[in-house]
Each structure stands twice: as structure tokens, then as C-alpha cells.
Subunit: 239 residues, 6 copies
């Protein structure tokens, strides 16, 4: 797996998911935004990190028992101690809302271990306590029952589905108040660079709209608007 | 299209949607409340305005491209500059949660142009920024992808479906923390008048319940309660 | 119906639903958490109480009319005046989001009558006003239309479905920020006792994780951790 | 419960559900057609009968056990032996597709006991064998698991929801290849009479359309078409 | 609107929808297959024709009345008499299963008028009688209630959504036992030509597989397989 | 993986899924029946075989291209040539109905290679041609688009979700007209034996019901009925 550019993740932390999805659309990608995963705490949700994947399948009564949780090789428990610092834990819950993917004890441990964020297309258990841990967490609500109530932990480190999107280990995920976008790893450097550029342009454009310009000719910008942008940018950069 | 009574909209701004749906039910209308459109900011969501409609259909890869956004005749862009001041932009997104109907630049422009509110049965892009604009906005969540990711703008000014309800241009929409009710235009004056009356009665009734009266005989009121109401109202009106 | 242990409800008010669902899972119960019922006000949602049930069926135009609301024998109105103090009103709305189960006048009356909480797998009308009453209320959102818009009140005091879970009159419901768990009445005393024990253990365990212990061996606890817990507990209890 | 007119059921057996729903719509009823209940065998599905109701609620592991099936008072088993001959068994399965409402042994017994039909908003077990019994059966597919896998039998003889429609004991249900319509009992005589009349008219009208008449003026009929109908009818009746 | 090539429709009548969707995928189109529209009679479902569109929106009690059906300008009735011979009637029902889009009288008239087929993302009324008319009809089941029970006819000749796909008047629709594909009009000639070619190749390839060739190298074909295909084709064409 | 008993599969081929789900329920398993997978051809659907698994995840535009189908290592293609004779191909399609899991060329090859059956929680392409191949195939309908339209092939030989049920490689799947049951491998021998016994008993019991016995005391059987069964069985076995 090729290394990411050294500024890619830090650049992406400053870029919104609306910008990123537009950059991906321009490259032909329409299915990159995880459905139904919203931040538990909108005030602490910005992150950009490489994906570490955990996959649940439907429970089976003889396997999905409380005893399995004590097995250090049970994938959902192994994942907690194995995820490399700085990565985001991405969990395939098949969108099932009936049981929590993780609870506050496990998320506390992830936080101690330097995990960047948690993203699941399922709920959290004791979501208020999970939110209090302080990690960015994206999920589809809260549910008290433990994961083994409806899931069995199948494996870690495999490609998964999360919120209708393919997530491969090493893909770059970025989250903000809107939710989470998945950037295929090979595109992350390029997308980071172009997104930073787009955000600067949009900062200028919304200012124009606030000043009373119509959207026609402004958004997207025509040549006059782009010339004004170049001037604004030059002034801003002190050039 | 007949003009609305001159106080109709201002009266309706002071009436709750619970009251309005009851007035419409009494006239035989059961399907008037837009499903799954909640206020982005409950503190700024009261509005009453005439409907201006925008309709999306499913995307087609050759049409739903970033380039189309620069065409001033593309209906979703034309709508932003064409909606008459004081009207509410109502968007038919077929309930699709995968892409934002509008983002903060367009909603900023709508606000500048005097638009009364935005109602969509789809999400907003960069919903936190949209909420910060200050317009009443009702939608079904947030989603970073642009509308062209899953939609194509079909037309403006046509009857639409929004949240399972028919909306005709010129219908009167009223929003509060519960959501949005659609009042067929021809009924708006009557409904406004009777709703104001109902709200006054309910103000009295909830006071009675707070004073310990049972709901039986109070809600709905029997003759004794109505007599007490008349007395209370007379006292209140200084008559 | 056998009486509950005298401390059962007060114990349960101090226990989280995550703990309770685990205790029930250990006893073989996987389907005890009401789906899609979240607290209107997370700051006022803790309760534990015996269930009083109300059941809606789909509306019929000749029965579901405003006039029926004035009949003191109409089950949804009779329920308001009949529910014994201290019980929780549990309403079977078939998950329908189109109409409110109850509104602020009825919930005000329930509060006056000493009702412990309201749980519905449907929305509330004028949900902001309902939240202001101060009772714990769990529901699936807000909807302005009155219940008779889509429901007819079938009966009270019968077993019902609520959020995909069976609720029998007299079952013990417990709510917190995650939602509501249904404890079959015959198990309530046992579950209360064991849950209090489990919560104490988890208080200890999360402290260990905050101190840097790995989850392996800690959660669930191995013998060493349990020995440390016994010591901690003895110290805490001053023994 | 007032008796039905003596020819009402036999008349209704000859009338299509499309006609009946139109007659009910003319009387203000829009929600009378059971959703998602299709005939197992379209060649043997015509029936008209009074409703006998059975209600399931979600399973609970300590109640929904194979042993309960041997209890003659368990409502789903009591229903089989209690339903009066000539009535239709209507089962509230909450639309759940995961388990069969009834299987071939129970439907065989219902057939022996003179039951008119079975209607459920859930699947049948061993649906091929159920179809072979020969009773009209309407359901939403086939599923091998027994009802106790996801249900508990709550009661019989109560108002229920079935496929989104209210069904009261004694209502008249009529089935054909399209599905099942529920006629409120008090309307059955009137609806039967007017439906027979409507069917005769439509037999004439479709003939006109087959002869090349445009639908304008024909369907619905204008005065000329009605005059032609009167003539056709008079000729047909030999008057 | 440019004319179609003279053999385009006849070629398309001989091509399967699986082939057509692959040709469209190769051109970048992933969303062209109407969801949940299956043939009423698989033995009579092949068609290729230009689209004529009809759009329903949700019913409104004062508009969706039986009386409206007698108005020759009511779009769903006007459509029946206005659709040009040889075109396919495509109906936007928003996927609603509660009411029939059309019934046997209207479909009989469409057949008389030379309509090529009917495609709706809603059910048919008296579906058995509709099937007996003999036109290719694709829909999502049967439902007895008339369209006005849940719909109002909004307009004809506008772009619509049908089964999650955009349909513009003049697009070419092709149906077979799998369902219906929508070919953007401008692509129809090209797609027709290349699809006929692909079908011939696949006829050869499935013969190879039946003869025991592995799929590797065969499907898709490698150079050897293509050489064998060229030989087979030359032999077949007598060249 | 322990070998199955030598008669287990042949016994299971003669047992219905209704019986098997009851045997599994008696052992505590409630979630073993694949949802929404029905036989393409009810006349050719009986099978019992060990599971070979294939897993799809959501498509990604740069990976899910026609070119990938020519890669012999692409899991969905590798699976076709790798599945051991006698096993059933089980495909995790996440229930997505928009694209076919397999088409007639691949199913023809599977049939040539001795595959026992195909089970998918997605549709088939050119389902009529797939049905004509003659293999038992269970799926949720037909859809013309190729799998790469909405899927990417993630892996083979891993535990999967199929129709809401966990399927491990080597589990025993049994299909009949109702659908498909998943028997955890370790239970297959026991379940086979007890199911054969149960089927014999039910053959006797349905005969009793046909003879007019009430279900009470018969189904489930009381001691008298069991004695009669023993006699019947002895007579039948010539003992």
C-alpha cells in the first residue's frame, strides 16, 4: 500500500465533506458518502484517517453469547487492541438499528490507544457516555443491547460495506457535521490538493453572494468572477 | 389565482401546525403534513408563505454533471433567482437521503432574495452552514453530496409531491417545530380564521388542565367548559 | 399479578438500559429493547415503572372523527383518566410516523395524574410543548396531525406490540438516554438485583480502562481483575 | 351485531374488489384494501365472509416456545377450533415476513371446520401444501419458521390491524385475484346492492370500449352512454 | 426530437434487457433499469417503444374524487386518448402499492388505440383482467382501489421518475421477462446496433459453456475464443 | 471441519424446511431462514448441500467495470470455477434488488461443474434463462443489470450474511418451495435424524386431521395420539 502524501491527512482535516464529494464526483465517483452515520457530538466530529475495518454478520444463538466476549481472538475485541494509532475504526453493521456496535468501555479504550474516530452504520450503546469520551463517533443512533444480540463478529481487515459504500482497509475517511466520505486511497493525495483549492474559491464565492451577487455567473463562477477571485487571492496572499 | 386575505399569512404565522392539521381534518383532509421534514434549527422555523415548487427526478449520468450547474436555465439554478420574495421554496426530492437538495451558498442567496423558507423531502448539504444562514429550513437530515449525484432538476412551477403530500404552486405552507403543513390555497383564509379561534380556546383549555380539571368534559369542551371559556374570553377582551 | 419487590423500581431507576439488556440476554431474551423510541428530552428521561397499555389500529373514516374524542369511553381518552399513578403509558402506534399519539394537553393531564412516563412507537403532536411538560417521553419524532388522522383507539389493558417488542400490562419498563427496555414482570426483581451488581463492576472496569488497562482481561474481567474488583469494592464499602 | 341481508354475502361473492373499493370510496372510505396479501392460488380465491380475528404480538423467548402450542387455550390454537363455520380467519402478523402464520395441518383443520378463507399480513408455512388444501388463502408469501419464532398469540375476537386496515369482528371481507377488501359491517348490505349494479354497468361499458368507443363519455358514462346502457339492460332483461 | 433509425425499434424488440443494460453500463450509465416493475404476463411482455409519460402526485381529498374521472382534460384520462399509436405509456406512481394505476377498461382502450405497452411503478386494478387484454404490462402487483384513492393526475408529457429511473418523453423503453430498461433517446440507435452484435456473441459463448469450456477465457472471451467466434459466425453467415 | 454423517445430506433432501426450522427452534435457533429468497422454479428447488460463499460489497466506479470480469482472480468469477462439485453457491448481495447476482452463462457453467444450487439475497439476470438451466436457484427476483452495476466482488470462502442469516462455509443449506434454511454444520447430523422422525409423525397427524380429529390433542399430539401413531407406524413398518 503506497504511503499517503505527508500533508494529505492534515489537509483533509480542514476540508468539508461537501467539497470532497464534489471532487470525487468530478472524478466519476457518485457513491462515496456513508448513509445514515451522523456525528454523536457535532462539536467534536472533524477527522481524517486511514480505515481499519471490522465486519459483523447476523447473530447465531450458539456463537453470539456473552462468553465469546472474553475471547481475545474474537474479532470485535481483537480489533480494539489491534487498530494502529491514528486510524479510524469502521464497522459494518448492515445498517441494523437493534443493537449497539460499541459501548463506552470499548470506545474509552480506543481513545486511550490513539484511535482517530469510530464510524458505524449501526448505533452505539450508552451513546451519551460514548459521546462523552471525546472521540469523533459517527453512527445511526443509540441502542442499549450489546452487539451480540443481533451480530457475530466475522473478521477484521477485510473490505466491508458501511452505509452503502465500499470501504477498503487503508481508504481515507473524512468526517464533519454532514457525515463521512470515503476517499479511495489512491486518490487521496490528489483529492486533498484540489479540495483545498476548491474551498478557498468557495470562501470567496459565498462572500460574493453575501454581497448581493446573483448565483448566475458566481456559482459556478464565470470568467469575470474567476478574475475577481484571482485578484482577491493575490491580495490575500500579499502577492 | 385568487389573492389571499390580507391577514391570512400573518395570522398563520402565529398558529401551530397541530391546530392547522385539526382544522383541515375537520374539512376532510387527512394528508396535509409533510413527512420527514424537520427544522434544521427549531429556534428559527416559524413561517407561513406561498409555495414555489422545484422538482427533481432521478439522475442520469449524461445530464447530472457538474457542468449543468453553470446553465442559468437549469431549473434548480433558475429557481434560486426566480422565486418571488416572500415565497417558500418547496423541493421534491422523492425522499432520497443520498444527496443534498441545496447547500449554504444557494440558501444564502435565497435569504438575500427574500425567500421565506426552504422545505425539502431530502437533506441539505453542509447543513450546519445552511442552518447558520438563518432562514427556516425543513429537510430530512444532512448529506454532503451535491444534488446532481442522485438527481436531475426537471422543472419549476409544477405540482409536486413533497413528503407524501401534494403541493401546488400557490398553496400556503406553514412550519413550526413539528414540521410543515400544506394548506390548499382556496382554504387558507378560512383555515387561518378558525385556527386562530381554536388556539385561543386551547390556551384556555390547557390552563384548565393545569388547574387539575380532568380531560373529560374539558378536551374537547362540554357546554360548561365552553361557558367558562366565554367568560374567560370576555374578561380577557375587557368586554 | 405478583407484587414487585419493594426496592425493585427504585433500583431500576438507577440502572442503565445497556446493563438491563445484557442481564436479559444472559437469561435468553434478545428482543426487549423498543425500536425507534428516543427521549424527547435526554435531560429528563430516566424512569422505571409498570406498563399501562393503549392500542391503536388503523383509522376508519366513519370512526376516526373529531367527535369521537368527546366520548369518555373512547379508549385513548379513557386511558388518560384511568392510568394508575406511577405507571407508564405505553402506546402501540404500529410505528406509523404520520400522526401524533398524544399532544401537550393530554400529556399535561397525565403529568397531573402522576403518570411516570409515556412511551410510543409513534410521534408526539406539538412535541416541543410535550417536552416542556417535564414527563419522560419516548417517541419516534413529532407530527402535527391528531391520532385520529391515521389511527382508531382499539383498547386499553391488552398485550401490545411497541417498537417490535411485546409489552404486557404490568411489565416493567425502564428508560434512559438510549431508549426503553421492557423487563417481563416475573423477572424484574432478579434483574434489578443483578443489574445493580453489574453496574458497580462496570464502574470499576471503566476506571481500569481509563487507567490504561487493555480490554483483554478487563472487559469481561478475568480472575485477576475480579480480585482487584473485590479489593476495590471492599475498600469502597469500608469493609 | 345486526344480521346481514340474506343475499349480501352471495351477492358479494360475485362482485370484484375493484368495484367494492370504488363503492367504498364514494362513501368516503379510502383505506379498506389489505396491503400485501395476495392469493396463494388465484384460481381458488373468491370469497365473501364475516371476519373472525386473531392477533399476534412480537415473540418473547419465555412464552413463544413449542410447548405453548399444546395449550388448547393458546389463542392461535383456540381460534382453529372456535371459528364459526362460514367465517374468514383474519390474522394480524404486523406484516412480519420472517415466520408463517399458519401451516398445512391447521389450514386443513380450518377447511374441515367450514372456514371460508384465511387472510394474513404474514406468510404461510409450507405454502405449497397450504395452497393444496383448497381454501382461499391470502398472505404475503411463504416462510418455513413456525409463528412462535417471531410471534406470540395475544388474543382472538378483538379489532386488529391487517395489512394497514382496521378489521373488526363481523366486518365483511371479500377476496378475489387482486386481494382483499374490508367492508365495515354496517355498510355491507348497501355496498353489495350498489356494487352489483355497478358491475352490470361496467360489463356494458367495457363492451363499448371493445367496440371502439373512446373512454371520454363512456367511462364514466355521459347521458348518451347511460341511455344506451338502459336500452341494453332492458333488452338483456327481456323487458 | 431527432428521428430514430428506421430499424432501431425492431432491432431492440429482439434484444434482451440484460444485454441492453450492459451496453449502457459500457457507456457509463448505471441507473437505467426500472425497479420493481415486472411483467403481468411473462409470455407477452416483449416490446420496444418511445415513452409517453403520465405523472401522479399524492391525492388531495377535494381533487381526487370520482367526479374528476369524467373530465376529459384530467391528465390520466386525457393520456388514454392522446398517446400516439406505437408508444408506451409510462406512469409515475412514486412506487405506491396502495392503488391501481390503471384498470382493464382503460388498458382495453389503450390496446384499441395501438399503444405498445404500459409501464408503471405501481399496481394494476383487476390485474387478471388487465393481463387478459394482451398488451405488455409491467407493474408492481395488483391493487383494487382506483388511482384517485391515493393519487392525483398531475400532468402528461413531462420528465418523470419511474421505479427510480428518469424517463423523458421520447426515450426508448424495452421490456422482457426481467423488466424494463430505459435507453436515453440519443443513444438508442447505437445501443441497438451494438446490442444485436453482443447477443450474437453471447449465443456463441453460451454454446461454448454448454460444451464444457470454463468461463475463464470464454466469458468474457479472450483472443482464442474471439477467433473461434469469428469462424462460427463466418460459417453461420455462409461466408 | 468434521465430515457430515454419510446419510445426512440425502436425508435432508427429503425433509421440508418447515420441519427443519422447528427442529432448530427446539435447539434455540430462531434466525435460520433466509429472508426473501424464493425458488425461481418451484418444480425444481429441492436440495441439501454444503455452503460455498461469495461476498459482494457496494460498487466503486473505478473497480466495478466490465474489464474486471475478465480477471480470473476476480472473486465472483473465480468462484464459478472453484466451487467443489455438490456444494451450493451462496451469495451475499446485501438484499440489493438493483442488479443480478448471476446470469444464465454463469449458472450454466455452475451446472456443468456439478454445483448443487444457487442461493442469493439478490436477483438473477435473465431469470427466465437461468431457470431454464435446471439448477435449484433461490433469489429475490429478476434484474437485468450486471452485478458490477451495484456490486464489487469482495471475497470467497468467508462467513457472510445472506437474507439476514449468518452463513459459514460448510454450513448445510436445504431448500424447498418455502425457501432456504441454514443448518449450522455441527448440528446437521442430529437435525437430519430428528427431522425425518418429525416428518413421519406429521404425515400421520395430518391424516388424523383429514379424518376429522380436532387439532387439540392431535397437533401437537397428546399421549393417545402418540399411541395411535406408534400403532400406525408399527403397522406401516410391518412390525
Amino acid at each position: 500500500m503506497a504511503a499517503l502524501g505527508k500533508d494529505t491527512l492534515s489537509t483533509l482535516r480542514g476540508v468539508g465533506t461537501a467539497t470532497l464529494t464534489m471532487q470525487l464526483l468530478k472524478r466519476g465517483f457518485r457513491n462515496v458518502f456513508i448513509q445514515d452515520a451522523t456525528p454523536l457530538d457535532p462539536a467534536r466530529c472533524r477527522f481524517a484517517a486511514e480505515a481499519y475495518t471490522l465486519r459483523f454478520i447476523p447473530m447465531r444463538e450458539d456463537l453470539s453469547r456473552p462468553e465469546v466476549l472474553g475471547d481475545p481472538e474474537y474479532p470485535p475485541r481483537k480489533a480494539i487492541e489491534d487498530i494502529p494509532p491514528g486510524q479510524v475504526m469502521v464497522v459494518d453493521c448492515r445498517g441494523d438499528r437493534r443493537a449497539g456496535a460499541l459501548g463506552d468501555i470499548l470506545v474509552t479504550r480506543l481513545s486511550k490507544r490513539g484511535c482517530a474516530a469510530v464510524v458505524a452504520d449501526g448505533p452505539m450503546r450508552d451513546a451519551a457516555a460514548v459521546a462523552a469520551v471525546g472521540l469523533p463517533v459517527f453512527c445511526n443512533g443509540s441502542a442499549a443491547p450489546a452487539s451480540i444480540t443481533v451480530h457475530f463478529g466475522a473478521d477484521i481487515g477485510r473490505p466491508i460495506a458501511c452505509g452503502g459504500v465500499a470501504v477498503f482497509p487503508g481508504d481515507v475517511l473524512v468526517g464533519d457535521t454532514d457525515g463521512v466520505v470515503v476517499i479511495p486511497r489512491a486518490l487521496a493525495d490528489d483529492v486533498a490538493r484540489d479540495s483545498a483549492e476548491q474551498e478557498l474559491l468557495e470562501e470567496f464565492l459565498i462572500g460574493r453572494v453575501r454581497d448581493g451577487h446573483p448565483t448566475t455567473g458566481t456559482y459556478p463562477p464565470n470568467e469575470d468572477t474567476l478574475a475577481a477571485y484571482d485578484a482577491w487571492r493575490a491580495a490575500r496572499d500579499g502577492t
